[in-house]
Symmetry: C2
Subunit: 259 residues, 2 copies
Amino acid sequence: MDTEENPVVTELMKDPCRGHHEKSSHPSQIKCGQCVLKKLCLVGDHYSEWPTQLDDIIIHKRPLQKGKHLYWQDTPFKSIYIVQSGGLKAYRLSSRGRERVLGFYLPGEMVGTDGLFNNRYSNSLMTLETTSVCELPFQPLLKLFEHEEVLLRQFLSIMCGELLEEQQLTLLSHKSTEERVAAFLMNLSARYQKRQLSASRMQLLMTRKDIANYLGIAVETISRVLSRFQDRGWIEINGRDIQLRNFSALEELLLQATN
Amino acid sequence: MDTEENPVVTELMKDPCRGHHEKSSHPSQIKCGQCVLKKLCLVGDHYSEWPTQLDDIIIHKRPLQKGKHLYWQDTPFKSIYIVQSGGLKAYRLSSRGRERVLGFYLPGEMVGTDGLFNNRYSNSLMTLETTSVCELPFQPLLKLFEHEEVLLRQFLSIMCGELLEEQQLTLLSHKSTEERVAAFLMNLSARYQKRQLSASRMQLLMTRKDIANYLGIAVETISRVLSRFQDRGWIEINGRDIQLRNFSALEELLLQATN
DNA sequence: CGGAATCTTGATTAGGTTCAAGATGAGTGG
DNA sequence: CCACTCATCTTGAACCTAATCAAGATTCCG
């Protein structure tokens, strides 16, 4: 697989994101009550049950440009974040400097729980385009949990969902490359749909290399499989613009071996 | 891969484990304060901080024989469990009846969190030998969390640990079969050691088939890789009795590609 | 506009699955 | 307790999928 070394340490030093962590809110902030994403995120269907408590602890930071980091692996855990717009990739750099992509995050999704294990983030989170997040400092959130059992329950449910998602992913190692790519596309599509976006037309934020790294297959294979899918009329690709044309064929492919 | 169909439905009907769920405690119950596993499990290092509350909600059920189920996938979520002795495997049956092994659990480890997503267990848990568990009904536990922030924190940390563990596993799909098997052995060894057991000599509870299914490789390959490791003097195998002879060689193998 | 990164396609090669068959071990009933 | 049977485990040979190596096409960005 890829062998390029990633000069983390030096980049870490000059990350322009650092120093921007001022407490003052970003002007374009929205209250949870007005946010179109509220039903998807930690807020869930129960907003009325904790009217303003969440708004009180949320920090709206200024949007991060593409390629900036929300946090770095091994730095102290402080906050949970919810993606408001844009998108991120989670990855880890090994001791030898190899990058392993661990996941992609869309608006409404929660990141930062990887810091709960030993109070240090275990992954790095990088934006794939200009991205806004809601920051939830964890200590105040924990206090909120004491009196808001439903909120805690929602939080646990999301964490459990991540775990199950990850288990699904683990099953990718049982699958052929076609199945993996199909699984990736269907997963993204379902998540787009949840966000009221088109389930069939997607603008991928990540490079083929990121996808390849994530799925554990070679970049060339990604290209080949996508081309094959297109030849069969299952999808239509134009760079990172992908249209799903035949859901049942993709679905069928998944059921064959996953299930 | 394996294609045998698993007759779940019928087995589910006659599972002798069912009907044993009486509330009355099992005679051989131990208080958390005396339990040798307390530092490993949810109790953690802070036992003195919630003296008897946990003991009050824990249900000690009678030991389950080998091959019995702690719970079945898709049944209502009720409790978290902590393994006290023995061992379990988590698996899921697909709609087509194919079994996918998702993990193995040793004494001190927590199972049941897969039920937190939608209040139904998403996996099935089967004992690999005679096994005792501590049952923690979730509602009372949630109540405990309200006043015991440290306990909640510990719970979240364990869940996060599972997630990270799972991410490591996902990375297996990037690895060669030798690396996967080495990772499996080293992981087990580390977990044995945590339990004050020998890190070098292990009595595997699971079959080669379970391991193969878990790692996503063929049974034959497992055999071949283990034999190769033995030929190199790295391990010694006698059926399910495995002795690790050369930790650094195995470690080196992991670092090569994982990192 | 030019250079670099990204993406696609082709040819070769290596690693792992599959198929096949024998060996070992565990569980069952006489 | 032994014989029998079935499941588990090991080893070999052929095949096939996906990685690697290589080169051209396209896109992105300064």
